[in-house]
């Protein structure tokens, strides 16, 4: 660390920023820096977190222009000299300061049919599944997504195209498409083929590059493109 005081710029709105001097500590995350400001310097600062360990996906913000989980980002990783700029997550409406409204993200998750479509019930035995089958491997690849919206914030297509379902929702759709237990194949293909569907993705790969979980929504979306293209030829639509 270059200095014992950090210069922290926080974007309070599109045209207002506040600069705070925050004491540097060992083992300090970006979330800790934001919390310090709220707890000690400006009690009106708003932000969101819950689990503090990278499981809930509610603390993501723009840190020096890059979307990140703030609870799992050590401040040393992002400091530019002793400075850092923190803003609300991109591509989502701001509620106040660093807290954004995540509803559009989840509305799209549902719109992409990102919900299990099952035929079995609680009275049926649990279906045996071969974990090494290629379908299951493909489904497992995206299953650890914590819907943090980091990929959604990173994607320029989302920025320009309000209807675009976005990487996380589409990745969920792809996971379900490969899930042997899911019966919603046609509904999913339909949902991802509309005007906000997977075909809007330009494979710019920012989703995969910034996903803190090392997931690869880009390849999942490519899978959807293949799947829909195949059914296009088969069904003629």
């Amino acid at each position: 660390m270059t200095s014992s005081v950090l210069k922290v710029t926080i974007e309070r709105s599109s045209d207002a920023q506040d600069v705070f001097e925050v004491p540097a500590f060992e083992s300090q995350t970006v979330l800790d820096v934001v919390s310090w400001v709220q707890q000690n310097a400006d009690p009106t600062l708003s932000y969101r977190f819950a689990c503090r360990v990278g499981m809930c996906g509610s603390c993501a913000m723009m840190v020096n222009g890059v979307p990140r989980w703030t609870c799992r980002t050590h401040i040393n990783k992002v400091l530019d000299g002793n400075e850092v700029t923190i803003g609300p997550l991109r591509n989502l409406p701001v509620i106040k300061d660093l807290a954004v409204d995540m509803d559009p993200f989840f509305d799209k998750w549902v719109a992409a049919e990102g919900v299990h479509h099952g035929a079995l019930t609680r009275d049926d035995p649990i279906a045996p599944v071969d974990e090494d089958s290629s379908d299951r491997v493909e489904a497992n690849a995206g299953i650890e997504c914590i819907n943090c919206s980091v990929c959604y914030a990173a994607c320029d297509t989302v920025a320009g195209n309000a209807d675009y379902l976005g990487p996380a929702a589409l990745q969920r759709a792809w996971t379900l498409l490969n899930d042997a237990k899911d019966e919603g194949r046609n509904a999913i293909l339909e949902a991802v083929s509309g005007s906000g569907g997977c075909h809007n993705c330009h494979s710019m790969g920012s989703c995969a590059a910034y996903c803190p979980n090392d997931l690869d929504p880009m390849s999942a979306i490519a899978g959807l493109k293949r799947g829909t293209a195949k059914s296009y030829f088969k069904r003629g639509r």
Partner: protein, 117 residues
């Protein structure tokens, strides 16, 4: 300033490929009508077409022409790369390999091309 910071923060190879593909697409879309118009002169005014064609001998225009061919190539290989990424169930490293192979062979072809003129 902010915009620049926003863009540099997003610069990674695939994003650069995307932006290059997009910009080349736009320039092609702007250039192509011009190209068509020039060719159409063959019908209306062959002499002027010749005039244009002679222009291609001069440095600036030659450079511009070369630039456009280059853009077409960039866009085409970018597009083929993209379609390979989307449709071929290859591993990412296989795709990188294929793209580099295509780029290298194209470069060699271009060298011959340059020698030819």
């Amino acid at each position: 300033m902010r915009a620049a910071a926003g863009i540099t923060s997003r610069a990674h190879p695939l994003w650069l490929a995307y932006i290059l593909h997009r910009l080349s697409g736009i320039v092609l879309a702007l250039f192509l009508p011009l190209h068509f118009w020039v060719l159409a002169l063959a019908m209306t005014d062959p002499v002027r077409l010749d005039g244009f064609l002679h222009l291609t001998e001069t440095g600036v225009v030659k450079l511009a022409e070369f630039g456009l061919v280059f853009l077409l190539a960039v866009h085409m290989f970018g597009g083929l790369r993209l379609m390979a990424m989307e449709w071929l169930p290859w591993t990412p490293s296989q795709k990188t390999l294929a793209a580099s192979a295509a780029a290298i062979s194209f470069l060699i072809a271009m060298l011959f091309f340059l020698k030819a003129i």
